[in-house]
Each structure stands twice: as C-alpha cells, then as structure tokens.
Symmetry: C3
Subunit: 245 residues, 3 copies
C-alpha cells in the first residue's frame, strides 16, 4: 500500500538526484518513508537516498516496491506550479501509480522491478571529511569543463583544492580552511574523478547550500547533502580514476 | 483601398491564430474590418476570424483581398515593442503591403490570391456547449502530449472531461460543472481529436481567459474565443478522428 | 610584464568587440593600457581598439604582446558575476596568462603571435559623419535580415537612411536630421555593405548608446564608439560591396 501527498519541489529534488545515474528506479516504500538505491549502468557511481515520512504532506505506506520510470514522473512534476501539491497512490490491481496535480490525473504503468537488485552500499573508511559551499563547487566545475575530462579533489589540513589539468591549460579552485564550513583532515589525500559524473551530481543539488565530502587517497568520494528541508538525505558514491602520472 | 494602424498585439493575435493552420492567407478587407477564413492543407481544420474596424487605431478600407505571407508579417511584428503602433497601407500599383513600425518601413509583395478559395463554414448542430478556462485546457494538453496522439473531449450534464489514452499510461482532466464558466448539455457527448491540431489551437489563444466549445457525438468541435479586447472573434473547427474501439 | 585587475564587464566588452572578427588576437600591452588591432580572415573588416590604463582597477604593464585565444578568455568571464573583479597576470616563464575570478585560477597557454601582423589602419578621407542611436541601428538590422544579404548606408544633408533590397521585399530605416545626434554631411553619399558583418559589429556594441559613422561614396564605413565608460574606444572599418546596378 502506498498513498501520499507531497509538494512538487520535494519530489523534484528526489527525481533530480536519482536521474543523474539512472532512467528507471525502484522506490522502496516502508511505513517510515521512501528509500532509493541505484547504481549507474557503467557501475561508476551509486546513489543512496532516503526521504522521511515527515517530508510529505500526507503519507501512508507499508512495505512495497515501486518501479518508476523517471521521465514519466518528471512530466507530471512539470505540470505543477511552485508549491503545488502532488498526490500519488499505488493502484495494486493494475500495477499503476496514479498521480494527480490540480484537476489532472496521470495513471502510469509501473516498471518491472524484478531485474533491479538493491545495490549494497560499501562501507568505506575515508580519512578526510569536509563541507564545501555548493556554489563554490559549481563555479569550479564550470571553470573546469572546457579544460579536462577529469578533476582531482584534494583535502589537506589547510583546506580543499579542486584541480583540472588539460594539455595546455589548467584550472584550480582553492578554498582555505576558513572558507570551509567543516574540515577534519590529518594528512593530505587526493583522488581523481570523471568530471562528467561529478558535475552531474553537484548540479543535482538544488536546495542544499553545502555538501559534505569524504575523501581518501585514490578512494571513492562520498558526497552527502540534505534534501526536503532536512527531512531527506542523499549519499552519492563515485569511483576514482587512476592517475596516469 | 486599405490603410490602417493597429497595436502590434492585435496583429500578433491575428497572426498567431491563423498561422496554426496555414502559411499564406487571404485578408478579406471591407469597410467594417478584416475577415480571414482558411482551411489547413490536410483539410482537417478550419479557422474563421473577424476583426472589427474598432479593433484598429485607424482604419480605412473598401472591398479588397490581400494575399499575406504570414511569416513576413510576423517578422515585422517582432520589431515592435509592446504597445507600439504598426501602420499598414496597400500599394495597389505595385501590389505590395507597406508596413511601418517606428522609423522602419517594410514593403512586402503580396501573395497571389487566385488559388485561395473562400472556404464555406459548415453549419453544424452541436448539442453541447461549454466554456472552459484556457489555462486548464493548456495544462491538460501538456499532460497529454507524452501519452498519446489523440485526445477525447467529453461533455456531460455533470461537467467536462478530456482523456488521453496511451498503451500503458493515461491522462485525464476532469472539470466538474462548478469549475466551468458555462455548461449547457443534456446528455453525454464524446468525440476524439488529433492532439497536435487541438494543442496548436489552444496555444494560439493569447488573451482570452476562457474558450467556448461546442461538441457533439463524433462530430467536429467548434472552439470560439475573443481577440483584440472583444473587438474580434475566432472560430476554429476541428474534424474528429474515428475511435478504434 | 603585465598584471591587471578589471571588472568583468570591461573585459567582456573588449572580447565581444574583437570576437566579431577573429578567434585569436594579439593584445599589445604598454604602460598606458592595452591596444588590439585585427583583420578578419576574409580581409573584409578591421578592428582597432584601445583600452586606457584607467579602465582597469589596477594596471601594471610594459611593452609586451599577449596572444589570446578569445574563447578561453570568454570562458573565464562567464564565471564572473556582474561587477566581479577579474585578475590577470602574465607568467612569462611558462608563456601563460593566469586569470583569477573568485577562488578560481585559470592558467591558459598563450597563442603564438609570430604569425599575427599588426594591421595598418588606412587613413581614409570620409566626407560624411553622423551619430546614430544604437537601438535604431539594431532594429533596422533585425528588419533587414530576412530581406537581403546586403545593406546600403546613405547619408545626406537631410539625414541618414539604411536600405535593404530583396527580390520581392525591401526594408528601409529613415532617420531625419532631428533624430540624429550629429550630422555633418554636405552632399549625399551611399555605400553598400555585407549585412552579416555590419550586423555583428552593431550587435557587439554593448554599452554605447550611440555610434559615430563616417561614410563616403562606395568607400568603407568607419564605425566609432566608446567602451568601458568612455575609457576605451573602438574603431571598426568595413569594406564596401560593389552595387550591381
């Protein structure tokens, strides 16, 4: 069983976050809210999102799985004005999700979840933790996109650095300790990442003003941020590239 | 003879309405205003537009026919700022329409009207009449566009419904009686229409806040709305599709 | 040596003006400011731009030449918010320009200036001089673009006229003397120009409200306007086309 109402903004955040990695996804509904875990087709990145019951205007659910076509859900969200409430209800007999906005009802067939496994989120011991303003990261990414396909993330006891090295040009964003919202780092760690993935993830952050990063030497990066006014949380995991030098 | 001045908005409404069906059109000028009748090349839809003399800032005309290339007229309208006055004058010797906006004069050759017949508007006895808010129709169309190529319009004594049925998904917009501005309908009627035509027509409505529809069972729909602050009127006629079930 | 800070708007004006003609350009730095001269690859047009030291927030330079890839510089400018300061410094050892905006540093390799000659600006004796509002010229160009590839500029003791003649249609913009900010013209002169070049030049004018034109019979046109709040000046020279009649 699943029946809920939510502000369109809340669902839009969820959809933006998940759609960076996959087109179809499984919503794991429990009585406490919704959880989504997904790995991108190339197995480079993972998302682990949870949205509490309290993020919704109304919420009634028991354990069930909803296979969602993200583009269809996005189409419905585009019909809503800012602040408008979207209703969702699972029609179990017909295996459809019934979404309503204003006087419009969209009945969408659910996607088969049989082939969607629940990815296991690896537990990683990442020594550096830091919180960076989202707009700084965004500007750094925009500056890097014409220079290289990769981006190095570096954390040191002095601050954070993002470096993009091309054949002729380079870009770096340097944020000393006092420009970070949080820094816990005993020694310098560095890892290289595919810029397109990192960029999509940062662009999917809509409301969170800062992002917490966990970094290790040549280890995956874990990005964490809040959605839905703090009533939801996202963890992205992105695998590193091997540095050629 | 034809010489007139009009606010750019008034001409833009006229052009938007007509360009949904044709690229070239005949303006029938009389001493009382301008009339335009046109059928689209596939003979699926018809427009019958009239613009009173009073819709213009200045108007002098006697019976004449102007073959207009709609894109050229649109180019001139794009030069005008909001509220700016456009002057038009027929240069009969050179068979050109001289349009002025600001300090710019565009002389455009007229299109030959010999091949343009005046379509006869069929008189149809359509039993249901209802007035629907334009923005509700627009939202319903946007919701339907990804689901199907057709749309069913249904009028009943209880209200109006618009249904779009795809292979897996469906969309419906339901407006009960109290959300309609007018409803005169004794028994339920239903007809199916090509969504692209219906969508273009509704999108061509720029200022009218509501649209009057006349519907019958598997009959064409007649859409009526005002333009130019009530000093002009548009009638669209759209042929039905045969329902497969 | 070159080290300077400037508002992003000032650099953007410079880049917009120069990029209408070339992709790579040589900045001639002196202790008094920056000068740029360039001819487009087809040798139809020339730009001669100078930006005084006082246009910058800070400026230190001695005679040097910087080969600039305009697109790279534009990428950096796009990172800046309105009013934000951009720092530039020549790294002579590595032959790079180091640009900073916010916390971001972009190091860009300079382009080889060996093949870039300094074009000699021809001294022309153009009998007519007139100053025209930029927005009038822009509107005239927009009106002409669908009608012809050429535009005739005409100056007479009575005013200025711009004519575009197509096969079936024509556009003209007529500005009588009292709508011009300046007019010094003893007899009518006329010359024809390629519309695409003329259009790009006028569109590159961002802040100047009027443009001074120097015209002669079938002679090049010289366009002059201010940039950087009057602390910089641009001269465009555009070669005429031969009139077929």
């Amino acid at each position: 069983m699943f029946k809920a109402k939510a502000k369109s903004e809340v669902l839009k955040e969820l959809i933006d976050v998940v759609s960076t990695l996959v087109d179809e996804v499984k919503f794991n509904v429990t009585k406490n809210g919704i959880g989504v875990k997904a790995v991108d087709p190339a197995h480079v990145a993972m998302v682990d999102l949870s949205l509490e019951k309290s993020a919704f205007e109304e919420f009634k659910g028991d354990d069930s799985e909803l296979g969602i076509d993200i583009n269809k859900m996005r189409e419905v969200l585009k019909l809503a004005r800012a602040g408008e409430i979207i209703s969702m209800e699972l029609d179990e007999d017909k295996n459809r999700l019934v979404m309503s906005v204003g006087n419009i009802v969209r009945r969408m067939s659910l996607v088969d979840t049989a082939g969607m496994s629940d990815p296991k989120v690896p537990s990683l011991d990442l020594p550096a933790k830091l919180a960076v303003r989202t707009d700084e990261l965004r500007q750094g990414i925009r500056a890097s996109e014409s220079v290289s396909d990769h981006i190095a993330l570096i954390s040191s006891p002095d601050g954070f650095e993002m470096i993009s090295e091309g054949d002729t040009d380079s870009v770096n964003l340097k944020l000393p300790k006092d420009l970070l919202e949080e820094l816990s780092c005993k020694e310098t760690v560095r890892a290289l990442f595919p810029l397109d993935y990192f960029s999509s993830m940062i662009k999917a952050v809509s409301s969170a003003e800062s992002i917490t990063m966990h970094l290790g030497n040549d280890y995956p990066v874990r990005l964490e941020f809040k959605i839905a006014d703090g009533k939801g949380e996202v963890k992205y995991l992105l695998a590193p590239r091997i540095e050629s030098e």
